[in-house]
Subunit: 181 residues, 4 copies
DNA sequence: CATGAATGAGGTTTCATTCAT
DNA sequence: GATGAATGAAACCTCATTCAT
């Protein structure tokens, strides 16, 4: 799975062959099919593993009391993931977008829908705690800006001032909130 | 090219075969190679055609005096493109993101770099006219939010209130600006 | 198709590879798939071609007036096919029998069901003309014996006196019938 | 062996995998190779087991005095085997026919050639007792009809009146023979 | 300008068999 | 006896590309 992930990230799913994967992992081609039913199945497992990581983020946000610090957790998670695993994020975004993977992605996401509900709940609570009286209305815009930061960075890493924009984003959403709230 | 575009949008580039394209276009396989050097070449041409469309947007923004209306042009262009050509936008975003297309995309973009400079200039002017004294600093965040709207809509068209968010976005950026400014 | 037929007859369908077929036919593997959708499709076409040959037999029986001579046509057709194309008959019988080919065979047969009706009509007429007042009742036994000759010959060509048994079969069914009827 | 037999009968020998067999039998793949040298070896054993069953038939014919009843034993054995184990018979016939199994079949048959001699002797005695003065000459035709009944039934079970034809066959061969002979 | 037959490298997948445990 | 991870050869099939016509 590690080999597959690295190659998918570097060359894309369709462009990576089973041979690529198994020879990088130093196992036989047959073994791959002993553990995975198909190439698609490998992708499925990778996505599942990725979604599992969300739980950690949710946990950390739940544990933190201060709204401002929760916002910082969210933003710094995003910044870290991007700067440390640019290719990975690129791969994930394109995979989730591509229509031909839609079924596969949907199925993987439905395996634990409560995860997404929990994340959304955390985000709503965050916005409310930051002083928004219409958190539901604000949420999509809030999310859009975060997601857009990801996108613009991925499209042109050197041309997008990720840290600065992140900081600006935090400032904008914490204006008028006591740092220790 | 129309057939290719439709198929790329529906099934993705790698998954679409020359046979798919030519049989949809009701021409022979040989003819495709009479006009295009390779499958990649078809993609190249499609991207070029797409980038040409940017000029129109720039032109319309240049022609409009009111900053608020210019902002509305930008947002409504985005909304229209998304709602009328969801698949197309999805395809474009993924193509631009994917590493294996990077060379191809870069080359297409370098064929007229002034285009992007012009668009950026328009956006800066817009922000300044809307009252931002540090337009350069604001621009990335401004763009991120727009780009993020695109992304969230593409990831889940029915779950993202595109029109509402667009409206909210316009309001936020026009706060304190006279409508006829 | 000729190469495929020969190889299927010699080595069986599953045991014959596309490579076997194309290298015997001295064409590329790709070409086989230009004309046939799959390996199964090749088999389908071969069966169809075989069934077409039935028409010739039916025609010859229709043209002949004498019942005895018609019986001789039927038997000698069987003998000739067996002695001249032992492997071919073996292949056909096993193909028609095998459950995994059932769908394929059924479909091929349904493409012209009138053929089998015509053959059956000819056989009934033959039995009636040979003096059987209950031709319908006799037909299955008549056919069984013919089919059994095929089988026993195929199971052990050198151990089964095909010509003698054929002659005996003709005699038994023409007993009491004037040679010139 | 039971799992193998059932699967071979349903899907054919080549189409059945060792995995199919062992997972149906709920044992490990390794265990299959502990008991059988190869997949072919499993088939070999199955054929041997089948041939052993012939002894029972021979025994029952030897034990019966009345020729007519012996004939009935033979025919009813055939009818029972067909109606109760259609797939099995189909599989056996195709296996014996297929050239690629020839060696294997031949070897299995040579392990007790006396069996076939005994059966043939019984059949000859039967024909003689039924009043045929040239039993040797009649035998192939006699066998052909029986074998043909098997074939026609297997080719189209619902379309072939097995019981009626069996009865007609018995009548024809017992014409003029006292029932208690 | 137009066709489609032809190629062949390379892709995914299957499977009998082996072997360390 | 029993397991199942591991192998690798070989199967079917795909497809971008070429080229004679």
């Amino acid at each position: 799975m590690a080999s597959a992930r690295e190659l998918f990230e570097q060359k894309g799913f369709e462009t990576t062959t089973i041979d690529d994967i198994t020879s990088r992992a130093q196992v036989s081609k047959g073994l791959a099919y002993h553990y995975f039913r198909s190439k698609d199945d490998i992708l499925r497992e990778l996505i599942r593993a990725r979604l599992d990581e969300l739980d950690d983020l949710i946990e950390r946000m739940r544990a933190e009391k201060s709204a401002v610090r929760r916002l910082r957790i969210l933003v710094s998670q995003l910044v870290t993931e991007l700067t440390e695993g640019e290719d990975r994020q690129r791969f994930l975004v394109t995979t989730f977008l591509q229509k031909q993977h839609h079924k596969l992605v949907t199925k993987a996401m439905q395996q634990s829908p409560e995860r997404f509900a929990a994340l959304q709940a955390e985000e709503l609570r965050l916005l409310a705690d930051l002083g928004h009286n219409e958190a539901e209305k604000e949420l999509p815009l809030f999310r859009a800006t975060l997601q857009g930061m990801v996108m613009l960075y991925l499209l042109n890493p050197h041309g997008f001032p990720l840290h600065d924009v992140g900081e600006l984003f935090v400032q904008r959403y914490t204006k008028g909130v006591a740092q220790n709230d």
